[in-house]
Amino acid sequence: MSPFASCSISRAGVALFACISCAGDASAQSLSALASDARNWPIAARDYAATRFSALDQINAGNVARLKLAWSFSVGANRGQEAAPLVIGGVMYVVGPYDGPHPNQVFALDAATGDLKWSYAPKPEPAAKGVACCDVVSRGLAYDNGRIFLNTLDDHMVALDAKSGQELWVTKLGDINLGETITMAPLAVKGKVFAGNSGGEMGVRGWLTAVDQNSGHIVWRAYSTGPDSETLIGADFQPRYDWMKGKDLGVKSWPADHWRTGGGTVWGWLSYDPETNFIFYGTGNPGPWNSNQRAGDNLWTSTVFARDADTGAAKWAYQMSPHDLWDHDEVNENVLLDLDVGGASRKVLVHPGRNGYMYVLDRATGEVLSADAYDTVTAYKGVDLQSGRIRPNEALTPVLDRTVENICPAPPGAKDWQPMAWSPRTRLLYVPHQHLCANFSASDVSYIAGTPFVGATVDMYAGPGGYRGEFLAWDPVKRAKAWAVTEKLPVWSGALVTAGDVVFYGTMDRLFKALDAKTGQLLWQIRAPSGFVGQPVTYMGGDGVQYIAILSGVGGWPGVIANAEIDPRVRNSALGFVGAVQDLPLYTAAGSTLLVFSLGDASAPRQQ
């Protein structure tokens, strides 16, 4: 643990380091305090507000072109690298995906030199192999009070001593044999750690679970469907809109008992407002029923929840897509900002909807202040700000007896899990996202567990303009695009923005890019070993040097694709999103490399 100094951050957001050596122990500091020190990256989203903004400015728009590789490290598992490295007190913690001899392995490294301090390999159940179908990523770790918290794909939460890597406790949260997995990064708040489940298309009922940091015991669990007693909806639940008021709507908004296998999994991002003690997160789409078998709003799927962090009690909820027809989960991040709305400063939550709308909600009440399309949208006709309800375009309902064309956004949404960033300096949101539309038709015969059926072919293709991805700067006050850079392939990596007014992201065709945060001008890029689906972070090492880090390794959703131009025999699998990126193998193979960049001024050989 390198000695840590206190630092103050000026109003301009520039970190001023009065680097007085002191024996401060990061483990004893609160997570909020750790986040206020710009040298750390203590939460996957950097801070509780999920801004992914760093006050570091050693690297800036004027010098970023000099960025060089400082060190690199292989996590030894060639699957989608979606994890955010964490950095606390000059030590980096990073987790690999579920693959290879040591699935979900955790590494602690000196953040300046890359020296390996320790590694920890969980022992996932061998029986789990093959039971989870598709998504084997990990989106990162959590840190609090000297501990690292890990979610394994096979539903365990593990606490490790951050200094030694020693296992402190292991708690089983779910069961892979029921189709449940965990891919999300946990969030640590006030002595608890939160995690939710994945697996909505397998009949999994979604939940968010709070675990006690010291004992590893489950404190509470809030289901996404079912009676109020299980969704933790009680006396202090105050939804803003009438159609979400009433008893046991998580049961009544479904036919019969269909909520029991209702989906609404929780596999995205959590944010936290210390002022109100609310945590915020979104739930997945309804499943595994067809839309014609689940009449009703299907609460609380495709919903953003505000809950009390201590008890899990729901404070408000807002369902973005009642009775979702197009697989539009709403698990994306909820960024907490103070924004000028109609001339007054409002405490808001900004949610980039999978459905293509950029929502600005009052984070105390769940009132929709605005919802504007930030990509091509044909599946909906807008959001009624009076009632709060979205207007679906029923003409595009997917039914097997006809072909439905030009559904935008496609099932993965206008934006998937890849997190956006917010700069308090430019007052812009930086939104990495895909730009895809889809046709839905019956054709393919599928086969699951010995059961044949005619499934749907979802042909996905580039949206209007012929590009498949975009890196968008969005002004949430003007409710408009400030600038955008189009990309050949979906932009599946997260975004990072700094006080140096530089914004970073990676592309699936192996480029890591730095753009001018004000104008979008490309300032620097580098070819990497593999395509990017990860989260860029920045920190300062014990050597006083600012570093930028990101994992390189394509995978996740696009990792399962084959190339139709090379192999015309490959067809789309149902809802498998294959068609849209059939050329991916022309650009990249799998990878597993952590890349760490600096300006290179400090790259003289060090005394070991």
Binding site: N177, M202, A256, G287, P288, W289, N290, V445, A449, G450
Partner: protein, 268 residues
């Protein structure tokens, strides 16, 4: 003293046996999905694999993987194994052999309940408690679930995720067991599963093919089932075709042993 010729014969025989052991028929299979296959070799696809391997002078080796999304990708396509013993004949992810049986979706009820429903248009479907398998989302469910939903038959339909709890034996069988216990009055299931469970059920079950399906096109309620190999693996596919043609009677007897409801396969 051994004569040279028999000495060589012994050596060659030894080599041949070693070869047979070194190159088994590599089968991709689900270790927990009777009547098709299980890890102990009790399924009809296990038995069929043994029949085929014996024809080839080989033994059988398995790559076990739950038969879900990603099954083909992680087993056959990944080169872990070379043949899947049962796939729909029109399955795009593999090169299919000649079909070796055809079956259909069936309605299952208890004999003692005298529910003689066979037609998808039967008005009683609006009242009966009906169990269906759930597989996914829109465009990813079994045909009976789609067809009932299209007719607005929803509130009396109970879904059983086909994945079930994989710690239990044969998770898809929960649907048929729900008929036995009376949790549902009628189940719509794929024939081979229903026929097999009915064969061993403690109560007499009625298993009838679902009729009046033509109005629900493009949904299909009957499927030809073949074996699947990697696309381009034509030598193996032709070998399997040959065995399917030559051993058709034995294969059919095997299916009959397992209670698989069968219809004549579509000639290709």
């Amino acid at each position: 003293m051994m004569r040279p010729s028999s000495f060589f014969v012994a050596i060659l025989l030894g080599l041949w046996i070693t070869r047979a052991q070194a190159e088994p028929l590599r089968v991709c299979a689900d270790p927990n999905n009777l009547p098709f296959s299980d890890g102990k070799g009790n399924g009809f696809e296990n038995r069929l694999a043994e029949l085929v391997a014996a024809e080839m002078g080989k033994s059988v080796s398995y790559t076990w993987w739950a038969q879900r999304r990603g099954f083909i990708r992680n087993t056959l396509s990944a080169g872990q194994c070379d043949v899947v013993m049962g796939v729909p004949a029109q399955y795009e992810l593999v090169a299919a052999t000649l079909p070796y049986y055809r079956s259909s979706y069936v309605f299952v009820s208890r004999q003692d309940r005298h529910i003689d429903v066979a037609s998808l248009k039967d008005p009683r479907l609006h009242q009966l408690r009906i169990g269906v398998h759930l597989l996914g989302d829109d465009g990813m469910n079994a045909p009976p679930a789609h067809a009932l939903g299209e007719q607005g038959i929803v509130g009396n339909v109970i879904g059983y995720p086909i994945y079930g709890d994989y710690r239990e034996a044969t998770p898809p069988a929960r649907l048929i067991e729900a008929v036995e216990s009376g949790d549902v009055e009628l189940a719509a299931a794929w024939g081979p599963l229903a026929g097999y469970v009915a064969l061993h059920a403690p109560v007499a079950l009625r298993v009838v093919p679902i009729t009046d399906t033509q109005d629900f096109a493009p949904l299909q309620f009957s499927f030809d089932i073949a074996m699947g190999v990697r696309k381009g693996d034509d030598a193996l596919r032709r070998q399997l075709d040959d065995i399917i043609l030559r051993r058709r009677a034995d294969i059919d007897a095997l299916l009959a042993d397992y209670g698989v409801p069968r219809a004549p396969v579509n000639a290709r």
